[in-house]
Each structure stands twice: as C-alpha cells, then as structure tokens.
C-alpha cells in the first residue's frame, strides 16, 4: 500500500463530485432550453459514478447518460416553439431535483476534501517520527 493511496482516492472523489456539479449546473442552465443542435428541447443529463477499476481503489465517472423521461408540456401559445394547439415541449429538468443533487454533491465533495486533509496530516505525522 502506497503512502499516497489515501490521497489519490480522495482526489478521485473530489474530481468526480466536481464533474457531477458541472452536469447539474448544465441541467439548471438549460431548464428552459427549447432548441438544441440535436433538435427538440434539452434533455436532462445524469453522470453515473462507479468504483474505479484500479487496485488502489477510488471512484470514476462511469458515463454521462441522457434522461429519457417525458418532457414537460407547457401551454403557451405565444411561445415561438409552440405547436398548433399552443403547447410547448419543455426540458425534463426539475430544478428542485437538481438542487437536491447539488446539495448531495457538495456534501460529498466536502467529505472527500476532509479525508484528503486527514491523509495529508497522517503523512506529516509519519515524517515527524524521523526527528
């Protein structure tokens, strides 16, 4: 077991939580986007995470998946993207869900940051044995 295993594991946790935060921010930013380059309204993205396939452990992003749940239908005949009946297809982003995910990601980020500090402190203590 290397002296830096704990630090690297916590580092992987930090970067994965940061990546989740980016995806959440993108979802919130696009909560009202009705036109995308692929056509149609924006669809919510989700970052899947899984244990890293390294002997040392850690975590990694396992893939970015598109949420295919039904889109929101909003009645707004004045909207440029409204259909013949006056309905607009809005992204399937629920800002409340994104907020909850953001809290979870931020809490997990904090916990990983603390684990990193502890690992660093331990290494420092080990060095101090050699006085």
């Amino acid at each position: 077991m290397s002296m830096f295993d704990a630090i690297e594991i916590s580092g992987s946790g930090l970067s994965v939580q940061r990546a989740r935060m980016d995806v959440i921010a993108e979802n919130i930013a696009n909560a009202e986007t009705t036109r995308t380059p692929e056509g149609g309204p924006y669809r919510r993205l989700q970052l899947l995470v899984a244990p890293a396939e390294r002997p040392a452990g850690g975590v990694e992003a396992a893939g970015l998946v598109v949420d295919n749940s039904p889109l929101r239908q909003v009645y707004d005949p004045s909207h440029a993207d409204a259909d013949a009946e006056g309905y607009v297809q809005m992204p399937n982003v629920d800002v409340a869900i994104e907020m909850v995910d953001m809290l979870a990601a931020s809490r997990a980020y904090e916990a990983n940051a603390r684990a990193l500090r502890v690992a660093r402190e331990m290494a420092q203590d080990a060095i101090n044995i050699l006085v």
Partner: protein
C-alpha cells in the same frame, strides 16, 4: 534491542490505522456509486492477541517475523443497511471513523518517535536531542 514488541506493535498499529484511512477514503469517494458496499479495517484484536502471546513467551515461529510483525489489517464489508441503490456508505459514520483514525495515528506516531529517540539516546550516550 532494535526490534522489540513495543516498536513492532506501534509500527503495525500505524500501518493498520493507515489501511483504515484508505478504506474510509474509498468509502467517501464512492458515496454515490450504486451498489457499492462500505468497508472497514480491523486489526486491533489480532494485534492485542499477538502482543499478549509474545509477552507470555509463546514467541515466534522460530526464525523470521515475530507474531506481532505478521499481524495484517483485515478488510471487511460493513453490514449496515443499504439505501435503495444498494450503497450503504454513511458519510457521518465515515467522518467519525476518520476523526478517530486521525487521533490514533498521531498518538502512535508520537509514541514510536519517543521510543526511537530513547533508543538513539541510549546508543549515542545522550548526543541525540
């Protein structure tokens, strides 16, 4: 004597606590991984048994490493209830365990340092600080 029971036990203790910190770091990194099972590290019971066995003279397997020196930290899954995604990491449990490990590591490191300085003083006739 450079390798006695105390230094060996302190060294195995440091190594065990560090292994525990690695497991905790892994648990915290995987707090959102579906199906991940939290793991903990145990070594204290085995270490204590080895120390007691050596103290009472039932020492070693002859040559090579002593009982205390061959204590290895054991990793085991935590059997706490899991969430709906099959993950059973509790951030609070891990943070508590981490605080304990941090203090434990500091204490062991300080004791080992003291012990080594004591020996170096004995060797150098007080020339070490």
């Amino acid at each position: 004597m450079l390798s006695n029971i105390t230094t060996a036990a302190l060294e195995r203790g440091l190594s065990g606590v560090y292994a525990r910190q690695v497991a905790i770091a892994d648990n915290l990194a995987n707090v959102e991984s579906a199906g991940y099972r939290a793991r903990g590290v145990e070594f204290e019971v085995e270490l204590r048994g080895a120390v007691e066995a050596e103290r009472s003279g039932r020492n070693t397997s002859g040559r090579g490493r002593s009982l205390v020196e061959s204590v290895q930290p054991q990793m085991a899954e935590r059997d706490t209830p899991s969430r709906r995604d099959g993950n059973n990491v509790s951030i609070e449990t891990e943070l508590v365990e981490m605080s304990k490990s941090c203090v434990q590591y500091k204490m062991l490191a300080r004791l080992l340092g003291k012990k080594l300085r004591m020996m170096s003083r004995a060797i150098g006739g007080g020339s070490a600080q």
